[in-house]
């Protein structure tokens, strides 16, 4: 028995099938060879651990997420209008509550039923389980534009790409209630390059045209845009010549925006994308909230809205035809 023989036994998972004589040979070798003794002990420690199987519902959950992701991905091209079932149900609860309360002449404060609906929603999502409390960050109170909501994303992140159509729908449907800002998360060098490109597009007034295209370029056309040259070529397709690209890309203003994004990510302790921060107080991400992340955000936004805004929104929902 020598060191090579020991390695062959370990590599081939042959230890359990050794004969008594072979075991004795192994024991003799290990007693005099610290290299093999250590390797054997490490192998043995790992081999003794038995990993349990997956939870019974995990495959079904994975299938559910895949369906949502695919539908979201298709939505980028079709832009189909489709309300998420649970969010619609939640909105319906609030609408019915508002309708009934106003009809009952409870008054413009929203009435008991609206509050009951809000309480029912509030009980569904819990801090620490469905979202995180950002106790160390600076709160951002609601303004005239709405409750500040910040999405942290990376262009190279596939879940962010899948999530984008839902977020865009959320943005358009909550205009006036939610002030949505997108902030690039900077977890690596390519993400920093993309963050710089994001703010370059913003500085050049091209962000609206380029944002979705940026995702498509990476995830549909498999062009990673991982170099300055690739980005310059990409910007050129949107009418930005090389000189304008270079000037904006290297500008101190863009540099400051990138540094602000990095600082904000640190302040909010962003560790995954997509993550959404509401009012500087709460952070939601798919690993905590799963596919219900936007429902969690809806609830947190509702909690952060001033009372008079909430009640005014409830009044609008009551009107027939869905328009004011």
């Amino acid at each position: 028995m020598n060191c090579d023989s020991i390695d062959l036994i370990l590599d081939g998972h042959r230890a359990p099938g050794l004969s008594p004589a072979e075991r004795q040979d192994v024991a003799m070798h290990l007693s005099g060879c610290s290299r093999c003794a250590g390797g054997w002990a490490a192998h043995d420690a790992l081999a003794r651990e038995k990993a349990c199987g997956p939870p019974p519902d995990l495959f079904a959950r994975a299938m559910g997420q895949l369906g949502a992701a695919r539908a979201a991905s298709q939505g980028i091209h079709r832009r189909r209008r489709m309300l998420a079932g649970t969010a619609a149900a939640a909105a319906a609860i609030v609408a019915v509550a508002a309708y009934v309360s106003l009809d009952n002449g409870v008054g413009t404060e929203g009435g008991g039923l609206t509050n009951i609906a809000t309480v029912q929603l509030a009980q569904r999502f819990v801090a620490g389980r469905d979202y995180e409390l950002l106790s160390a960050a600076t709160p951002q109170p609601a303004t005239a534009d709405g409750v500040p909501v910040t999405e942290f994303f990376m262009y190279q992140c596939f879940p962010c790409y899948s999530f984008e159509p839902q977020l865009e729908r959320f943005r358009t449907e909550t205009l006036g209630r939610v002030a949505l800002t997108r902030v690039p998360a900077v977890f690596n060098a390519v993400a920093e390059l993309h963050a710089r490109a994001f703010y370059t597009a913003e500085a050049l007034g091209k962000l609206e045209a380029m944002h979705a295209a940026f995702y498509d370029e990476i995830h549909v056309r498999n062009n990673r845009l991982a170099s300055r040259e690739a980005l310059a070529e990409f910007f050129a397709r949107f009418g930005v010549d090389a000189a304008a690209f270079d000037a904006a890309f290297d500008s101190s203003a863009v540099d400051a925006r990138v540094q602000d994004a990095i600082a904000l990510g640190r302040e909010y302790r962003i560790q995954a994308t997509p993550s959404i921060v509401v009012a500087g107080r709460y952070a939601a991400n798919p690993s905590m909230a799963g596919p219900a992340m936007l429902e969690v955000v809806e609830q947190l936004v509702a909690d952060e809205m001033p009372c008079e805004t909430r009640c005014a929104g409830a009044g609008r929902l009551r009107l027939p035809g869905g328009n004011e």
Binding site: R48, L58, M63, Q65, A87, P291
Partner: protein
């Protein structure tokens, strides 16, 4: 928010992934040593498989393809979380997910100690070393590992040996320096 995939896509996905799903999860659990992280990792693998279902259907060894995806996603994730404290403490969900088959109270207690020692040093290994050791401990032979890691068998054997030696040193150090474990746990 959950929307069904089309029937044909769902069936293809089931046929290709479900037979290997339990093995994927067990490998993910060994890699991450946390149930929630393992679930996330497996779901990421499923997402990748779903977006590249044609690639997966075309390979001769779908299990190796899925394990390779698991490995790459794990390495990416480990890099992102490098600064996170990720050493499981006694009583976390890892303890009831990775269990020993040791019989009897003495052996079980010894297995618990080994498990704790492994948990304390696990994240000091390189992500690739964790992946090698986990997938090997899950019963994959060198041929399967060579396919997963896309390296030849000799190179794989050498890396596996180095990973074992590194783990052995860390385990020995943790046994001799209990203070080191405390620092790791509280970081």
């Amino acid at each position: 928010m959950r929307l069904p995939m089309s029937d044909s896509l769902e069936q293809r996905f089931r046929n290709l992934v479900q037979p290997h799903f339990a093995a994927l999860y067990r490998a993910a659990l060994r890699l991450t040593r946390r149930r929630a992280d393992a679930e996330d990792l497996v779901q990421e693998v499923c997402l990748r498989a779903c977006t590249r279902l044609d690639d997966l259907a075309a390979v001769a060894n779908p299990r190796a393809w899925l394990m390779r995806a698991l490995y790459h996603l794990f390495v990416d994730s480990a890099r992102r979380k490098r600064r996170q404290a990720a050493v499981p403490l006694a009583g976390t969900d890892a303890g009831d997910s990775i269990a020993s088959d040791a019989a009897g109270p003495d052996l079980a207690a010894e297995a618990d100690r080994t498990h704790e020692r492994l948990a304390a040093v696990w994240h000091r290994l390189d992500p690739e070393q964790r992946a090698l050791l986990s997938l090997h401990a899950e019963g994959n032979d060198l041929e399967e590992l060579a396919a997963i890691f896309a390296i030849n068998r000799n190179a794989l054997s050498a890396r596996l040996h180095r990973a074992r030696q590194r783990l052995a040193k860390l385990l020995a150090a943790s046994e001799q320096e209990p203070a080191l474990r405390l620092v790791e746990t509280e970081r």
